[in-house]
Symmetry: D2
């Protein structure tokens, strides 16, 4: 329970779209109607002309996005806790033909323009020693469950573009961050200087379709080759494309994300009541990082919850994640168990 948003099922709108497209034959490899619509739908969603590539996993999205954004000899700045650095097993480096991740520290999961600037200044000048940094990759919402403000994104992009670098956003929890900021998808991306985006749909009610969204038209030339070569050219692509279409339509993505965020807030409010519990970061999306007293941990374990201790930066804690389908009741029962109360707290 609350282990990840990846454990959730597929939302009804997505399932219906898959069922509906399963009629007769359709051109393969993205020549179908749904995939053709997808470019238009994403362009409308972002209020600008974009290229959109359906992919099967977030790792594939990041590896393709960064492979397009970074020349093969390049370095990529990212947060030291970035998913691409810690959890994707070298996918970005390998698909990029040997690009090099250059992790940097940053409070609350956020990379700051100042930290990147001083890293740039430490590089040897005019000598090919380090892989030359050509991309900055940020995660929105972050791996710490926080959100970059528009001005924070803008500062990073300004620095990047001033130095001839591109900016990538890992949007595995894109919609969760978007509803927190309450801005438009355009504001949080290209208007803030983002060149290429990994658009996350799977954690947000999808089945097996995220997307690479390319704002910078220069980066699209090689896209189809990179996609094919890396095993992401789905022959029956319509079944992936409709998942994305279903989430973009009628605000489904935002509705799903808003629910997940709300459940996280409810969970964090509940757990905060436990004496000795401490939130490591403000809860701004659907993730909670919390240090729990041993008694609370034991009560949860006894009740059958599998808790995984995390110790990034030597501060042992637990991560809990909510999803589009998290029930308020389940949150309340979990909190009651942790507190050791027999009474489920009335939902505030």
């Amino acid at each position: 329970m609350f282990v990840s948003d990846n454990t959730s099922s597929v939302c009804p709108e997505v399932m219906q779209a898959i069922d509906a497209v399963n009629v007769g034959d359709a051109a393969g490899y993205g020549g179908d109607q749904a995939t053709l619509e997808l470019g238009k739908a994403f362009s409308a969603y972002f209020a600008t002309q974009v290229a959109a590539i359906p992919v099967g996993t977030g790792t594939a999205a990041n590896a393709i996005a960064l492979s397009l954004a970074a020349p093969r000899f390049a370095g990529i700045y990212c947060h030291q806790n970035a998913h691409i650095e810690t959890t994707e097993c070298g996918g970005v480096e390998s698909w990029g033909g040997g690009t090099k991740l250059m992790p940097l520290p940053g409070a609350q999961g956020r990379l700051g323009a100042d930290v990147i600037r001083s890293a740039l200044e430490r590089l040897p000048r005019g000598r090919p020693q380090s892989a030359p940094p050509k991309v900055i990759s940020i995660t929105q919402g972050t791996e710490a469950g926080t959100v970059y403000s528009l001005s924070q994104i803008g500062e990073i992009s300004a620095l990047a573009h001033e130095r001839g670098m591109k900016v990538h956003m890992d949007g595995a929890r894109f919609s969760n961050a978007l509803v927190t900021l309450g801005c438009s998808a355009a504001d949080m991306t290209w208007r803030a200087g983002i060149d290429v985006l990994s658009y996350g749909a799977i954690k947000n009610g999808g089945m097996c379709a995220d997307a690479v969204v390319v704002f910078d038209q220069e980066l699209t030339d090689q896209a189809a080759f990179v996609q094919r070569r890396n095993g992401q050219m789905y022959s029956k692509m319509r079944y992936l494309s409709v998942q994305l279409l279903a989430l973009l339509r009628d605000g489904v993505a935002e509705r799903n994300a808003r629910h997940a965020n709300k459940m996280a807030e409810r969970l964090s409010r509940g757990l905060s009541q436990i004496p000795g519990a401490r939130l490591l970061h403000p809860v701004e999306i659907n993730e909670i990082f919390v240090s729990l007293p041993p008694a609370a941990r034991d009560r949860l374990a006894l009740a059958g919850h599998a808790l995984q201790l995390r110790a990034v930066l030597d501060d042992p804690h637990y991560r809990f994640v909510t999803a589009w389908n998290t029930a308020g009741d389940a949150v309340d029962r979990f909190v009651a168990t942790a507190i050791g109360s027999k009474v489920i707290p009335a939902h505030a």
Copy 2:
């Protein structure tokens, strides 16, 4: 029409399995019940202990299978028309970290043990000039719509193992070949010396799940890392695993394949009646390679069929492919159009 088996829809058994698994939460990244069953189901199907890795595309299956079978500095013998050589945009080479495909000729789409043996003999001895061949990859059914006999597979495997090489089977149309040979899945694979298989399900009624099936236990150590790194560790893997389970269960895969093969036979019988038409290869699975007289081609084009001229080896021809959902009527109408007959031929 008949452009590819990839244009077909998803068969009912697979759709029902997907619908059925969409209930509640489940562990991510393959920790779910369906994925755990998958290993057992494939082991039962092949009558031996295997590891099975669900992947999203055939290119991913081949690239992972060959990445496991081949050391990074290795050469891989394959037919010069092999899908990995002609159509996967360097996927095998790139995921393998620079393995080298070494294409060889062979009549009717088949690689012969003798051709491989003489290629081995032409290699410089004791000098690291060529990438050292470590794997032979064959396609069953072949890219020419033919099938290797068990003894042909056995001869290749015997040669490979005698020289310390592994054998990979690209089974994009595995079931189509299997029902033609009428043997067991075990007979066509590990009993004939196959070490690792790309098991094709997508062309045969699946949606987005093929599988890498590993017979040689030595090759499984790195599998999870290769899968993750290459963007094939689906977080909601249950939705892929159930597709494969549905096809393995109750002979669905074989039933689908048998139908497709039968339709190809019907189509080839029909087209053969056209004066001047000529089949390039015996029709042994669900693909037809045929040289058509200009008049027949024009009649089909006029009726709106998109025909793509192919000129591998300077023999211009057309490829037609049937699928699990090809209707006999459609075949007959297509033939009638090609013939220029107004009467749909009675089905023999």
Copy 3:
């Protein structure tokens, strides 16, 4: 004897240059005086502004040259007997991050514009199936000991540039071809459309320095990074640069090559007298490919010569190579041994 031009020693001019530069300290990694001069010397030699990168082996030269010329997802057309295809163990593919060699046949070791054109025409249009061909690589003099004429090079380049491809020349035996054609270095390269050259010096009297010569200024941006990353940024680079300077100065390279060619001609004239001997190709540089009768072979073997039978394209034969330091006497004695004569033939 005559096994390769790589077995030869270093010519006096190169040795003297190395001795002369071994005085005091000098800036590392190419900041030294000799390396700075090298760009000017190559620019003067080619009568145009070039970038020149000293490298330690021919494989390094080819891999860096092609890594600069080819985008990472690209295909490279080359002759099926090209050194990069048969002898460099995947170096080009691996340094290129997964570029794909696409070998083609061609008589007398030469690739023809017509063969390339028809390969281009066989590619599927508008679909990312094959690695997209972006470079043509030719070897001058060829692996068959022949030479492309200026118009043959020009035709290939014209085709390449018309299709947006770059042209690479593997000039492992550049000077040998140059003196045969009797033209200028500029004529044989950029004036004929060559974009990047592997300039061979080692076989021609050098010790451990070949060079990548870049004519197309677009390709130089990444050069230093590619050089460093691939272990070719020699810290004491002056010792490599002076080798190249010594060969470029006063026609030393041409003199060495002319001598080697002359010795090959003498050897081929001698061996041609043997009844049953047959030259496979015209002898246009310093290599001979000859089919010898068993008696001649046995006499040579008995006299202690290590002969290596070669069977490319199923025509068994021997290769003999002469060098800058091959003595005329040694040629004559070798021929006499093969003929079975006790009298060394007077040199015509």
Copy 4:
């Protein structure tokens, strides 16, 4: 002056060896007499059977050594200031086919077994998220001019082997560390658990030959292929091999290193007299890291010395390096300039 040991010339013993081997023809690609002797010479030097591969640069040595030691999907622990991490432009990652460097902090340039152990404990268990760490790479002497003690090396190796990892030593300044410890080459390597070594000769009087020395026989199978493919199979290898032979013979390597170390000590003693100067690390080999007051810096700059400010870890300082050919007088004059004295200090 004192910019790097790479700016030094080639020592007389190495030059004489190169001159002496330049006689007549010799088998290419390492089939020559000198290269055959090299294996024996290194085996005698290390008092055990080793394989020795001559290479042209330190980057090539590290990339080949780590390519042999690390499976392609692996992670490599190294110090965050390690040359492979900061200065080799992604060479290790790229030749390894996508291995991942995992830098860790450590005082005085040394990696500690405890820091590695706690990094291992932070890894997610049983899940393929991080590249699995398979190698620890240490630099002896370190990038901070310090030296690991034998017991420090032993602790790291013990940890590595206990966890199934290999240990690599980057010995760019191997001999400098060796004479400081005063132990045998065997003690500092395999007896302390080192599996593969980058043996540095170039900075220590060589011209263009370092070596990969493989202690773990398991790692040698692929060596020749990796060497060829990466452009390090020198055709006239004898000219590299004799450089290494000359340094191994009669204690030349140790004599050169001892001199360089002594000069560094003299320089550090001199600079330490300057009020406000501060050594960042103990001076244990031929490198000095020193913080200088502005006046001293200005005096040196005014006298024409190019000083490069370094700011690793936000502590601005200068690095000075001595070499086998550093003259005591030059050291004294440099110190006098920095001090602002007109009198060259008498050498203590």
